[in-house]
């Protein structure tokens, strides 16, 4: 039986007068990979940040499994460890080695012993192919390696769901592949993920559903085939055409 992991109902976010998005509804089932696309400034990052309460929504509700995490008495820190997040600019803890980056949450949030945390952190780094780089500081790693540490750091908390906010858009073209590869593997292993990205090859191959957001609204959502070959809205078609054009060019150059 299919079970929703994340349910979003009428989610609304404003900054003062400015409404970023209004009445967003979304259901994410166990094992789903959802790709969100849309022009910049549309509210995709803000939406992801609302999902793990890094930004407070102004209205609407979010359930993680059966718990309403937008309820008043919720322990946010408790919630966040179950929702992994990967950032566009990696945001590694720059004063800690790759291993220590992954260990930090295990020790201070999960209260694991030093030994257990160390073992688990090494395991997670191996999972993203960075066993060798465990003792490197972020400043000694390439962008692609840093982002993979970012993924390991989030995975180490054993999250129910992972959020990726344009995880490859700050990377040089030759480093994008290694990060997408890790994400592809995660998706096939059954991790539930929401990914904001414009890597259309990845989306087509991995996404169960693609969500097209524009100006704070979900314009259209559907399977990759539906969106690519039978878009219901003119705007979806235009946007997809624009980015595949761009993506195609990039691929040729690389």
């Amino acid at each position: 039986m299919i079970k929703p992991i994340l349910t979003v109902k009428n989610l609304t976010k404003r900054y003062g007068e400015h409404t970023v998005f209004e009445n967003i509804n979304l259901t994410v089932n166990e094992g789903d990979t959802i790709v969100i696309i849309g022009p910049s400034g549309t509210g995709k990052s803000t939406f992801l940040r609302c999902l793990n309460l890094l930004t407070k929504p102004n209205g609407g509700q979010i359930w993680l499994d059966d718990q309403e995490i937008t309820a008043k008495d919720v322990d946010e820190d408790q919630v966040r460890q179950h929702i992994g997040m990967v950032f566009q600019n990696f945001l590694l803890f720059n004063h800690l080695t790759a291993l220590e980056n992954v260990k930090l949450g295990l020790i201070h949030v999960k209260h694991m012993s030093k030994e257990a945390a160390e073992a688990k952190a090494r395991e997670e780094l191996a999972r993203v192919g960075l066993a060798e780089q465990a003792d490197h500081y972020p400043g000694q790693l390439s962008g692609g390696q840093q982002q993979r540490v970012g993924i390991a750091r989030a995975l180490a908390m054993d999250p129910r769901i992972m959020l990726f906010d344009e995880p490859t858009s700050a990377l040089d073209p030759e480093l994008i592949g290694e990060v997408l590869e890790v994400m592809r593997k995660l998706s096939f292993e059954g991790m539930t993920m929401i990914v904001v990205t414009h890597e259309m090859g990845f989306a087509r191959e991995v996404a169960d559903r693609i969500v097209f957001m524009e100006k704070g609204q979900i314009v259209e959502e559907g399977t990759p085939d539906q969106l690519f070959y039978h878009p219901q809205h003119e705007r979806t078609r235009e946007f997809l055409w624009k980015i595949t054009e761009l993506y195609g060019k990039k691929e040729k150059e690389a």
Binding site: D77, Q81, M85, F87, F93, G105, V109, Y137, P138
Partner: protein
Amino acid sequence: MEWFQLLQRFFGDFMQGAGVTLELTAVGLLIGFVLGLALALAKTFGAPGVSKFATGYIELFRGTPLLVQLFLIYYGLPSLGLTLSQTLSAYLALGLNSAAYQAEYLRGAIQAIGDAQMMAGRSIGLSRWQTIRLVILPQALRLALPAWSNEPISLLKTTAVVFLIAVQDLMAKAKRAATTTYNPIGSYIAVAVIYLVMVFILDALLKWLERKTKIPGLETDTNPA
């Protein structure tokens, strides 16, 4: 080289005074660091009222001469029923004053590390205070170090006014040497040399500390040459 003969004659006296000067610097620096860190955190992460208070404190203490603060504490507080010894007054004035400057160095670094790292810390379930303690401060303190290194030296020089409330620091000894020998210029040059030596040693120490706390790839040099 009359100042050199003066230095020889009053050497013991000067060393005693230099000891007091170093004590004043150390105590002022310590009070200033603890209070300054609290002010910097209050200013960056505090509720609006708390943050305003911290800003006001910093502006007030940076906007008035230390000498006035010293006199206000030593001569002024007794009329409010709080009488402090000369040494305690000097400690307090130097500490309260240095706190304002240290708060600014630290705040700059905390803000530079700022929101992004806070978000990263909170995203794995660390609390606000945990993130400040485990993620932001370890980076901010390193980042602040090159700029902060000015403060110990600056404070050491600043202590030289406390002889005006008769604390027996190096300057007080110089004044005594000046009156007993009728040679003010020689006396003050002699202690100027001692101050210079202390500043050089302190500077070397701080440079060493900076090298020791450096993390590979973490750029802490905010003013590259």
